[in-house]
């Protein structure tokens, strides 16, 4: 009887649009070690195009390390070793020659907002400039579009020449999102973006993300399970270096989980 229910659920999932979209990012047998000690092991998951893919889990679960391997930031940490396969748009990121091009396709938003010590304008214009765009008129358009999409334009349009690093925390986080958008990314990765952000701004950013989903794929790492529930189409649960479960987000909350640890975490029994 129990088995039948699981099968029924599986059958329903195949109909779900989140499952039928093409694969954006395929991760198989991914293991990350820091100096021999595994931080994450044996991860298998797929992120589909135009979905918000949530990753929940307590601290030290390996969530941030996971993100770092996706855009090859592991190259800056000689202590970090990566095994397994990560296919981004069907290409193995470990074998890519031009990792700079890979990184520029992936926007990243950090837990603590990083407003670069440049003007607001230059924060957003930096990535286009790195791509070789020099014409002021072209940059103006990009800056306005990205700031608008990040719901920051109205607040800063009159002081684009003031320093980005002096904005408030919530504004800086939206500036970071605008900067990530200026990369015209395929994939946007947010690592616990709401840690240093007030609840009102958090809700505004969440609305932004729901809009952005139509244009790109989003990976949302969060330690707020309710945030994952509000936003994510599918969610993975990471715990102590292991990917415990991947499923349709709503299933994790309605109890259709395969692992007791997932149920306990989602219900707030630990973490």
């Amino acid at each position: 009887m129990v088995d039948m229910n699981v099968n029924l659920a599986a059958a329903n999932k195949i109909e779900d649009p989140a499952y039928s979209a093409p694969v954006k990012l395929g991760v198989s047998d991914l293991t990350i070690r820091y100096g021999g000690t595994p931080a994450l092991s044996g991860v298998n998951l797929e992120v589909r195009e135009h979905e918000i893919f949530g990753i929940i889990g307590p601290a030290n679960a390996g969530k941030t390390s996971f993100l770092k391997t996706l855009n090859r930031m592991d190259t800056f940490n000689t202590n970090m070793s990566v095994e397994g396969e990560i296919l981004f748009n069907g290409l193995n990121v470990q074998n890519l020659k031009n990792i700079y091009a890979l990184r520029s396709r992936i926007g990243v938003v950090f837990p603590l907002p990083v407003g670069l010590p440049l003007t607001i304008y230059e924060n957003v214009a930096l990535s286009p400039r790195l791509r070789g765009i020099r014409r002021k008129s072209e940059l103006d358009v990009i800056v306005e579009r990205c700031l608008s999409r990040a719901a920051l334009w109205d607040e800063v349009k009159d002081r684009l020449d003031s320093l980005g690093s002096l904005l408030s925390g919530g504004q800086q986080q939206r500036l970071t999102i605008a900067r990530a958008l200026s990369q015209e990314p395929d994939l946007l990765m947010l690592d616990e973006f709401s840690i240093a952000v007030d609840p009102v701004t958090t809700m505004r950013i969440e609305d932004v993300l729901k809009e952005l989903k139509h244009d790109m794929t989003i990976i949302l790492v969060t330690n707020l399970v309710q945030q994952a529930r509000r936003l994510a189409d599918r969610t993975a649960f990471f715990l102590e270096g292991e990917c415990v479960e991947v499923g349709i987000t709503e299933d994790l909350f309605t109890g259709e989980v395969q692992d007791q640890r997932t149920r306990d975490y989602v219900e707030g029994k630990f973490g």
């Binding site: 800056f76 700079y100 091009a101 396709r105 990243v108 990083v114 670069l116 010590p117 440049l118 990535s127």
Partner: protein
């Protein structure tokens, strides 16, 4: 409830004792500086004039001004800076931004620390061997300046590294995540925010170079020259050596002359230091994060 116990009172006394002790140590520190400055002004102040600064020494250096020495010091310091700043800044950028923590960079670090510890007279002899003889520059401004440049390289490297280190790592990571190369990150974000600290270090280097005597005395500074240097391959007089000469080597020098030279020298150094401090304060006010 808040009555003072015996222990409270004791603690308070000990605390006052130490405060006064440390205050006295601090005051003690200033005393030599004040005495030096006061003596120089009292004994040498009378000779300082525009003429003293801008005329040649006369009567076997027992009278006249110090212009050739002053100009020579400016020459030597300028050429030394031209050599040491690009080299030191480039090395510091490499060490801080590119190099990993391996045996190679550790040896370099050790070498820099040791270079800073080499006595200046040893640098002088190295300068004679390397620049005067081996490279064939002769005793010249170039040889003297390069000797000083090598001597002050650790200052430039260390101060540049400190200011690079002060730029938060998060800024670099944000740039790298956008697909910027290390050089793009350095040029667009790191250097613009470190340049103030680098300049402060350079000014400190100037003040150190100005006063050095031993490294230039065998490599390019002359006892007495009746003409001004025309290029980097000429010898020149220099303030620091001139002070040594008029204070100890020439008979019949009036008392106020060496003190006057010393006053000019120390004024140059203090001026540089004050510019450096003012600059730092100005930039601290403009801090961007």
């Amino acid at each position: 409830m808040f009555a003072e116990s015996a222990l409270n009172i004791r603690n308070k006394r000990v605390q006052n004792l130490f405060r006064i002790l440390f205050l006295m140590m601090t005051v003690l520190l200033i005393i030599p500086v004040v005495i030096i400055l006061a003596t120089l002004v009292a004994k040498g102040g009378s000779i300082i004039s525009i003429d003293f600064l801008f005329t040649d020494p006369t009567n076997g250096m027992t009278a006249g001004g110090i212009f050739p020495a002053l100009l020579g010091t400016v020459w030597i310091v300028a050429v030394a800076l031209l050599a040491s700043v690009p080299l030191g800044v480039a090395a510091a950028i490499y060490l801080n931004e590119y190099a990993g923590d391996n045996w190679f960079t550790r040896i370099i670090q050790l070498a820099i620390i040791n270079l800073a510890g080499v006595p200046s007279i040893v640098h002088a002899l190295f300068g004679v061997g390397a620049f005067v003889i081996f490279f064939g520059f002769g005793t010249s401004i170039l040889a003297a300046s390069l000797t000083l440049a090598i001597m002050t390289l650790p200052v430039v490297i260390v101060s540049t590294r400190e200011s690079l280190r002060a730029v938060p790592q998060a800024f670099r990571e944000a740039c790298w995540n956008m697909g910027a190369t290390r050089w793009q990150t350095i040029r667009r974000v790191v250097l613009p925010n470190a340049v103030s600290g680098i300049l402060t270090g350079v000014i400190l280097e100037v003040s150190r170079t100005t006063g050095e005597t031993a490294p230039i005395m065998f490599t390019g500074a002359a006892f007495f020259l009746p003409f001004l240097p025309q290029g980097v391959f000429d010898q020149t007089m220099a303030l620091s050596l001139h002070l040594f000469v008029v204070a100890t080597q020439v008979p019949g020098v009036p008392d106020n002359l060496p003190f006057g030279v010393a006053l000019v020298l120390i004024a140059m150094v203090l001026l540089m230091n004050s510019i450096s401090i003012a600059f730092r304060m100005y930039l601290r006010g403009k801090k961007k994060w």
